[in-house]
């Protein structure tokens, strides 16, 4: 745990320093440069606080581990136990976003969303960092076991896990896949999306495209917060996707017919239904298709996730088109 914590702390400081640097580079006046650094510092402090608290509290709610009837008020002491499997990644990410939002609100005069847009690639980098950090979190970021002697049993494809009794095995490094998706989005956000689109474009796209591949990754993970066989974080991914698509659709297409306007949401709901069916098929208890292995079902899931991506992108473009582009400079509204 300590290696993990140190790595995450050092990596977070570095990423927020880069965020500050980018904000400072975007302005010329020394006074604004100073304010940019203040924003980054406050964003770091608030994010660390809110991220940790929400991740732990969200985890406690999702695992339903606080049992006041059994433990009385002493149940709250469990909130101070920061095990990997008692923390919610998505609640932590929400805390980080709230922290950055609050920092921007306190240090800027105009819309905070320009600041959130500027933070989007750094948020993706944070996701990448924390997902890679799961490589040091025992078995937390892993998926199915590899057969003994598999030629694919090496990092970064797989991680070695040690069980009670010292038995070692290799499992798929799902956390590395999650990190790769996040890194890819960070690169796109840095090099393709800068200064394009309306305010909020970068941030909402980042939310969408960070949550999207995680639908697949959460399904592949063998650890996590479960409600019986349901991956709680996968449900949160789906909710984030629904929320972002709804935001785009509500804010645009008012001149379109009902079917055309809400088609992306319809496609999303169809895809989510398909994903539920696939999850049942992977579990094998309700649905069985001869010859379909878990890997094959995950390939099908990839295709479904891609369809959600296309539908979401259509909604995003429509929303972006229907307003005159506002450059998303991090300090423009200051």
């Amino acid at each position: 745990m300590s290696t993990y914590l140190w790595l995450m702390a050092a990596g977070s400081v570095l990423i927020f320093a880069l965020y500050g640097l980018r904000c400072a580079n975007a302005v010329r006046l020394p006074q604004l440069k100073k304010r940019a650094w203040e924003t980054a510092l406050l964003a770091f402090l608030f994010s660390a606080l809110f991220g940790t608290v929400l991740a732990r509290c969200g985890g406690a709610l999702m695992t339903q581990e606080l049992d006041f009837e059994y433990d009385g008020i002493a149940a709250l002491e469990q909130l101070l136990e920061f095990d990997f499997d008692r923390m919610s990644f998505f609640c932590g990410a929400l805390g980080v976003c709230l922290g950055v939002l609050l920092a921007n609100r306190l240090t800027r005069k105009g819309s905070v969303w320009a600041g959130m847009d500027a933070f989007a690639p750094f948020g993706a980098l944070l996701v990448c960092l924390f997902r890679m950090g799961e490589c040091f979190a025992e078995s937390w970021g892993t998926g199915a076991s590899l057969p003994e002697g598999s030629p694919l049993a090496f990092f970064p494809l797989a991680l070695k896990i040690s069980s009670d009794g010292g038995y070692e095995s290799w499992s798929w490094a799902v956390c590395v896949l999650s990190a790769a998706f996040a890194l890819a989005w960070a690169a796109i956000a840095f090099f393709r999306l800068r200064s394009t689109g309306r305010t909020g474009w970068n941030f909402t796209l980042a939310l969408f495209f960070l949550a999207l591949p995680q639908v697949l990754c959460e399904s592949m993970r063998s650890s996590g917060i479960y409600w019986l066989f349901v991956h709680a974080e996968q449900l949160l991914c789906a909710l984030v996707l629904a929320g972002v698509i709804l935001f785009w659709l509500i804010k645009s297409g008012k001149d379109l017919s009902f079917p055309r306007r809400w088609a992306p949401l319809g496609i999303y709901l169809l895809c989510i239904s398909a994903l539920i069916v696939i999850e049942f098929a992977i579990d094998g208890s309700k649905i069985k298709v001869p010859g379909m292995t878990h890997a094959a079902w995950h390939l099908v899931m990839c295709a479904v996730v891609a369809v959600i991506g296309v539908a979401g992108m259509a909604a995003a473009r429509r929303w972006n088109r229907q307003a005159s582009p506002v450059p998303s400079s991090p300090i423009s509204a200051a």
């Binding site: 003994e148 009670d164 019986l228 094998g284």
Partner: protein
């Protein structure tokens, strides 16, 4: 005349012996007590020479005999389909209680799951089964290999505790503080939290502690762990394939009782149910791929080939 009388007398003396020979049950193997450490290390490697046939393993410390029963129509109450039910009955005797062991996929306070075959291979299990999935519950009692991982009983499910002598003790919906770390001065080595109790004192309880995922009235794959005598156990696992169906819970309890169980406890069944012998899964549920599980219960050999004269 004296010779004839002698022969007749000898025959009279031999008659009871012959009768005894006919009536005597199959000799129980004499097993040596060679304790294994109470930790998460495995057992000794099963030796090929002790596999008597495809379904039997007998070495100086453990005997495992597997039979398949397909004559189970009397245990199919109310079933109107065309499929049959079958059950694997595994008769297990061990020389020492420490040969009944448990292992987690990663740890008993973690939710990770792995294939039963893989875990059985790590610990050189002669025979292994899935456990109780307790690591994924927020409440319950998890004592494994003498170590307590969780003791948060809320009167929801039944508990099976196995003491240091390998004897079973069952508790119906125990509440907070009802189970400590020992019973009658005997340390609890393993405790399972699932149930229900299928047989207690040789009788099927009038009522079961059930919960939704037991599918109590469905014809379902089930796994029962039974004690039939001192260091003598039976594991019973019903099939659920394309051509067979499992059993209702009440019928399964009756089967356990009729197989001689003094105490029997239901472990996780359905698509988790797994029995591994000689490194392969013997039973077959309908899953395309066997479900990974967080823990196993297994029986190990303690014979190291050197210590017994």
């Amino acid at each position: 005349m004296r010779a004839v009388l002698s022969v007749l007398l000898a025959l009279l003396l031999l008659l009871p012996c012959a009768a005894l020979g006919e009536a005597a049950p199959a000799a129980e193997p004499t097993l040596f007590s060679m304790p294994l450490p109470i930790d998460f290390s495995g057992g000794m490697v099963p030796q090929e020479e002790f596999y008597k046939d495809d379904w039997t393993y007998e070495d100086p410390t453990i005997s495992v005999h597997i039979t398949f029963r397909d004559d189970l129509s009397e245990y199919m109450t109310g079933y109107k389909g065309k499929k049959q039910s079958g059950a694997w009955i595994v008769d297990i005797r061990i020389g020492d209680a420490s040969q009944l062991r448990t292992l987690a996929a990663v740890s008993f306070n973690k939710k990770d799951a792995k294939a039963v075959e893989q875990m059985a291979g790590w610990v050189n299990a002669v025979i292994a089964f899935n456990g109780d999935f307790a690591a994924r519950r927020t409440e319950g009692l998890i004592i494994r290999q003498g170590e307590t991982f969780k003791n948060k009983l809320k009167g929801a499910l039944d508990v099976l505790a196995i003491d240091e002598d390998g004897d079973f003790h069952v508790f119906a919906k125990p509440k907070k503080g009802e189970i400590g770390d020992s019973i009658d001065g005997k340390k609890i080595i393993n405790a399972f939290y699932f149930g229900p109790i299928l047989v207690e004192n040789g009788e099927v309880p009038a009522k079961f502690t059930t919960f939704r995922y037991l599918h109590e009235d469905d014809y379902y794959a089930r796994l029962g762990i039974c004690q039939v005598g001192p260091l003598h156990y039976k594991m019973i696992i019903t099939t659920m394939q394309d051509v067979t169906v499992g059993m209702k819970l009440t019928d399964f309890a009756r089967l356990c009782k009729d197989e001689g169980a003094i105490t029997a406890f239901n472990l996780d069944g359905g698509y988790s149910a797994a029995m591994i012998f000689r490194g392969v899964m013997v039973n077959d549920t309908k899953s395309a791929e066997p479900r990974d599980v967080p823990d196993i219960v297994y029986f190990a050999s303690a014979w190291n080939g050197e210590d017994i004269e």
